[in-house]
Symmetry: C2
């Protein structure tokens, strides 16, 4: 896997990530396809909108459909019929979010499946093995995710564990041309620990660096400050991925801080709950004021939904819990996200990122 930065504007970068499936322009937003499907959106639409990279989840996929099934197909790509890149989360974040049902020890984690309650063990080697089975284009190292707020000393202990797991992940990973492995910077809200994390990781051979443990309730200012601190200390020539972010304005801020990659459930989950992103802000389509509104979701949008359907019709679909209500809003939202990523990229190249507002 190769990464080339074509253009910069202050800390912001416009680049291209080359994988076995082709080129991915950065900054890039990855639609979330947890279970091997971007909820409600067929691959035809994703391809039409030029999404080159989606995210899937190790934790969810190892439980369902399970690796025996994926093995039979040879890869998650073949199973889901997707011939573009896939980045897989290592499972750490999902497991930690199970709360009481998880036991963490120095070697790994034991948890109860949210599907059948069975006990499952996951550690660095197993996570990498699952991601190998999925044939993930970009593998993430396995680490421990901490809640917010979290004390300095607890964060320090957790970071030490994460750094060890990260090294074990890398040792278990076999490099292949066109594929890559990213490690994850942790250290909570403590810059000193973030620095230590970056030092631990930078000494090893990774294809990119994720910034984890943010967007967990710390607020935009602190998130931006930690992001800025991390990118200032991370290797310049490798892609940076801010996990789980976010709102268009957060993405813009993070790009200005030197981040190249993003994922978030917002455009898809919002689509399923009747929230649409537009150039004039978000719209709650269930609101009664849209019931007779014959204008499109967004007058400045050229997606099929805005070209074909009115707010009134979408209001009717969503109010009636029709499948197409979810499908159409998700489709529009993904188109919107793709569009703003293009606008951001062009603003970097054209040197007018300062004037851009989202």
């Amino acid at each position: 896997m190769k990464f080339k930065i074509n253009s910069t504007f202050r800390k912001a970068r416009a680049g291209i990530l080359h994988t076995k499936y082709g080129k991915i322009e950065t900054p890039v937003f990855m639609p979330v396809g947890t279970l091997g499907t971007v909820k409600g959106i067929s691959k035809e639409i994703l391809q039409k909108y030029n999404f080159e990279l989606i995210l899937a989840n190790t934790y969810h996929l190892m439980l369902r459909p399970g690796m025996e099934v994926i093995n039979k197909f040879g890869s998650l790509n073949k199973f889901m019929s997707w011939n573009k890149s896939i980045l897989t989360d290592s499972g750490g974040f999902q497991i930690m979010s199970l709360g009481k049902n998880v036991k963490v020890d120095d070697e790994g984690v034991t948890f109860r499946s949210h599907l059948d309650g069975s006990l499952v063990r996951l550690n660095a080697e197993k996570s990498i093995e699952v991601q190998k089975c999925l044939d993930s284009t970009i593998t993430m190292t396995f680490d421990e995710c901490i809640p917010y707020p979290f004390s300095y000393s607890d964060t320090e202990v957790s970071l030490e564990r994460s750094s060890k797991w990260t090294k074990r992940s890398l040792n278990a990973y076999k490099k292949k041309s066109g594929y890559g492995i990213f490690s994850i910077v942790q250290g909570g809200m403590y810059k000193e620990l973030r620095k230590k994390s970056i030092e631990d990781l930078s000494s090893l051979e990774f294809d990119g660096y994720a910034i984890g443990g943010l967007a967990v309730g710390e607020g935009l200012k602190l998130m931006s400050s930690i992001t800025d601190y991390c990118t200032s200390n991370l290797p310049t020539e490798k892609p940076r991925y801010l996990m789980g972010v976010g709102y268009p304005s957060d993405i813009l801020e993070a790009v200005k801080n030197g981040v190249d990659m993003f994922d978030c459930v917002l455009p898809t989950r919002s689509g399923r709950t009747g929230l649409a992103f537009t150039t004039n802000g978000t719209i709650k389509i269930k609101n009664a004021k849209y019931s007779k509104d014959n204008s499109p979701l967004d007058n400045n949008c050229s997606c099929e939904i805005c070209l074909n359907y009115s707010r009134a019709y979408l209001h009717h679909l969503v109010k009636s819990s029709e499948i197409l209500g979810s499908v159409f809003l998700t489709q529009h939202n993904l188109f919107y996200y793709k569009k703003i990523m293009k606008i951001i990229r062009e603003a970097i190249i054209n040197g007018n990122l300062d004037n851009l507002k989202l």
Copy 2:
């Protein structure tokens, strides 16, 4: 609206229905779009699969979104962005299925909305008015639907009422070029009453005749017998529509009995519950035996779903309650129904309908 029969084989007919939106080849299957949306399927797919006529429901649409909204758009076609023909059910069947919440008198029916419990009145004139507001390509007359079994004398009383409502419906309807109005043959399981119904209706100027009150639990043999009896007495030159039917084999049987038009929720509803129609029978995709099956739903099918996805992947989507599970199975099922209608039509034209099995 014009109807031309191009070819016949015994009682079966291959024809073309001409409406303001173009040609509709018969025998035709109408996907059900109750609320102004064929559940889970965008118009792009319907158009790609050459569906020229869908069904929508007066009862549901008058409650939601309501005629005030449709009025603003000028037609259901414009509201839902569909530029092909629409047949609308008159509301009678849906209202009767509300059971205890309905009061029928000689003038019309009063019922409680299933949405907010409010009292609503519907009669022949109102049903035609709503269908006019929807700008239905094919309007259905308003009648009383009866349960099964139902006594001769009760059926006779109901039929008399239905015949009066039918005349009132026709009086309230304004003819327009490219549009049409169908009446509905009632009379339960009594041929004598069916004959009376047909005599009542045939004396009036309708563009087509529906056969109502069947597929209500009477069994295939009785349904076929009544259908056969009705078509033998209906005018030859007008299209016949068997309401709410059905399984592919039922459709084939009814075509042999001289029916031209069909609607049923089967392909769409089955799609949402994990049942797929294939050339080798139906498949319950949730069945564990499909969890690792890398063959398509139907080896003889060329729909996008069968060309792209395995049974194992569809099993995974449906088991995980993913939106695309419903969407993909519905899409395949509609493709299948469209295909069998084409096969049936060609078999009529080629004179080998006797050899066809579905």
